[in-house]
Amino acid sequence: MILECKHVWDYISEFLDDSLPPETRELVQKHLENCEICSAILDSTRNILVLTADDRVFELPAGYSERLHARLAREIHGANSRPEKPTQN
């Protein structure tokens, strides 16, 4: 059986996850060895996913941890139920 490009595209995600049945994986692998377009699609998808997963894409804002700890501390000490009012002179 020979796979056409459009069929290979359907398998890209599972190929990357290594979750295809062995016989399907072998057919896809053979196609990839001879098809520069499908190889480029696979390589670009893999590369894009690696970049997407990088912590730098969604970096935590500066001071995030401090603000979170401060809010958790307020919660722990029950300050949330007694919001501070500005002092009036």
Binding site: D43, T45, N47, I48, T52, P61, R67, L72, E75
Partner: protein, 168 residues
């Protein structure tokens, strides 16, 4: 995770803080049936969804949004691909391209992609958290990945290193 769901940093921080507080208040309900991180992710997801629902009156869904798990998604066709090194992420334009592309995915695809490819949850954990079948996770993930490739490959190709500046 919150940053990939809501549009601005301040709101994402609110979502994350609220999720932590809810987790703290409900700590007694955590029974260890899932990993703590998965539990926290599901609380964050619910908080992000709640915010997005509240904004849905002003938020317009994309007109060319693909139908639920139906139809074909084709990748961007390329003849060659020059690897984009992770050093490229030092550039704000590249980070913005990735953030925008994830933001362009409709929620059903974004949720699965974020859980599987960013938060590194398993297919089973993702299915459990989203209360969908394993095959739906696989289909949505496939479509999300191909949609990302379709949007990003042509743009990132233009960002690929020609001047060796990332290798110096």
């Amino acid at each position: 995770m919150a940053m990939s769901f809501v549009k601005n940093e301040t709101e994402a921080e609110d979502v994350a803080q609220e999720a932590f507080l809810k987790a703290f208040r409900n700590l007694a309900n955590f029974r260890g049936e899932s990993k703590f991180s998965t539990w926290l992710i599901s609380i964050t997801l619910n908080e992000a969804r709640r915010r997005l629902r509240r904004q849905s009156t002003v938020r317009m869904e994309s007109l060319d949004e693909p139908p639920e798990e139906g139809g074909k998604i084709s990748p961007a066709l390329l003849r060659d691909w020059r690897e984009i090194p992770s050093e490229a992420l030092e550039r704000k334009e590249v980070r913005s391209l990735l953030q925008e592309a994830i933001g362009h995915l409709s929620p059903m695809y974004r949720e699965v992609l974020v859980m599987r490819d960013i938060e590194d949850l398993s297919t089973e954990e993702t299915a459990g958290t989203l209360a969908i079948s394993i095959s739906s996770v696989k289909v949505r993930l496939h479509r999300a990945r191909i949609m990302l490739q379709k949007e990003l490959a042509p743009k990132l190709k233009l960002e690929s290193p020609k001047k060796r500046r990332w290798f110096s």
